[in-house]
């Protein structure tokens, strides 16, 4: 099949050059002011809101023909959202794709940060549904902007207070608010709080795109990112208390999979590339089968 970018029907990476410039300017401002939400003129993309329209626009603005793109959805490379976005850029940009975190130069992600440590030169693009961390407590945009401007972040702790009052602990388990470089409070997108410690001091550039809400923000490499908490209820990066049943990994974030009607379940790494890599290296979990014998 002749790919779309070759026929001239579409510009490289779908968006026209002026739009990409506009988005790049927003990205540069975001990188310059870590955690600050930069408004941008989000375009109508050929996918519904909530499927990653913001992330796709940021990725499109970052891609160059030499890039190698990885797209993950909840850690997996083979789910609908990941497959369709990956295919979209194969057709509109003709870039190489990969499932290996280590090989990728641009990684678009929904709800996870890869287990494999990221390196300098890599760009991670997060899909963000609601960029405003204060939104559910303060519905007025004028007021939340003012609160960011004046660093009035007491309200964020009210949310955590409510968690403890109701559940006995901070029950927020994803989209856990963070403070970036001692200044802006930021929504890290709906990643599990298990991934929060990876946001800080990361070698890669982390970009966040919210298409419907028309905001871009960024965490540049090696930035200080602190998860908010109380002195007597400190932040903990929680995960299911199990090992991966396929590869035996102890420290990776797990998905719980129901395997029959009797309620049997297995826990598997949500990062499929990480899990496959471990199994290829010979690790076998409780229910796993050695890679050479076939599939698990």
């Amino acid at each position: 099949m002749t790919e779309l970018f070759e026929t001239g029907a579409y510009n490289f990476a779908y968006l026209d050059e002026q739009t990409k410039r506009m988005i790049r300017r927003a990205i540069l401002k975001g990188v310059a002011v870590p955690g600050y939400q930069v408004p941008f003129a989000s375009r109508e993309m050929p996918m519904p809101y909530g499927w990653g329209t913001g992330g796709v626009q940021v990725t499109a603005a970052c891609l160059v023909p030499e890039d190698r793109l990885k797209v993950i959805d909840q850690g997996a490379d083979d789910t609908t959202n990941a497959v369709s976005i990956r295919k979209f850029f194969q057709r509109t940009a003709g870039v190489a794709v990969t499932e290996a975190t280590i090989e990728a130069t641009v990684i678009q992600t929904r709800h996870r940060i890869p287990e494999t440590p990221l390196r300098e030169g890599q760009i991670v693009v997060y899909q963000v549904p609601i960029p405003e961390p204060l939104r559910f407590l303060e519905p007025r945009e004028t007021e939340t902007r003012k609160m960011h401007e004046l660093e009035e972040y007491g309200l964020m702790h009210v949310k955590l207070y409510e968690d403890i009052a109701r559940h006995g602990e901070i029950a927020t388990s994803y989209a856990y608010p963070v403070k970036v470089e001692g200044r802006y409070v930021m929504d890290p997108s709906p990643i599990p709080k298990f991934d929060n410690p990876k946001l800080g001091d990361n070698a890669a550039i982390q970009l966040f795109g919210a298409g419907r809400e028309q905001r871009i923000y960024a965490v540049p490499p090696y930035t200080r990112v602190v998860s908010l908490d109380f002195d007597d209820h400190p932040f903990t990066a929680s995960k299911a208390p199990h090992d991966c049943d396929l590869c035996g990994a102890k420290g990776s974030y797990l998905d719980e999979v129901i395997t029959d009607d009797a309620g049997s379940r297995m826990y598997v790494c949500s990062d499929t590339d990480f899990c496959a890599g471990r199994r290829a290296a010979g690790h076998v979990g409780r229910l796993g089968v050695a890679m050479a014998d076939g599939s698990a």
Binding site: E152, G154, L155, V158, Y161, A165, F230, D232
Partner: protein, 264 residues
Amino acid sequence: MGSVDMGIWTKRNEQPLFQVEGLTKYYGNRIGCVDVSFDLFPGEVLGIVGESGSGKSTLLSCLAGHLRPDLGSVIYDGRDVLAMAETERRKLSRTEWAYVHQNPRDGLRMGVSAGGNVGERLMAIGARHYGTIRDTATDWLGRVEIAADRIDDRPSAFSGGMQQRLQIARNLVTGPRLVFMDEPTGGLDVSVQARLLDLLRGLVRDLGLSVIIVTHDLAVVRLLADRLMVMKDGRVVEQGLTDQVLDDPQHAYSQLLVSSVLQV
């Protein structure tokens, strides 16, 4: 004008906490309030009365920094409030100042538990210890006569009187020095009003608060206010000691106001 020599209230060796001079606010060509001046001393309660549209709410909004006056000056504790940076003013309004709204829904977060509502101001000024915040909130709920086991209930599950008491606790928790109240008893039935007034009077005396209270209810100022300002058409027509103004009103409008109160 029934302007009284204010010298007798100027306690010696004491600086006013809040000084207002020539405060004027226009809405286009219409008058909001004109040329209002007064001094408020620490621990003093000033009542502002007048009919609807007399400019008393406009005045309170200007004083609390919600509206910007066109003319005049507002000095708090030696600092010019109008010249202050917004950061500083907002900081003031969540530490040393408090504002009790007529409708508790305007002053409370209805989606947040009572404890969270009281704790918000503490967290806004940097409290980061959950246990301490919760203990303080429990203590304050007790002071405004809300049972400790209601601490995790949302204000929407409270009666009107309880909501108003919760709003007061939420405002006083950071130990403010100056409290603005806009019709704090409005919309409450008389027995609830009486208890609320009793509570307010106790808190004001115990904490030594300076209060500016706007109301159309003369009974409220009779009970709470040391000093009274009567407003009509945006102007102060009479001011003086509360009992003096209510028992011996000089200005025609004050006389009308006092004589309009229903006797039961």
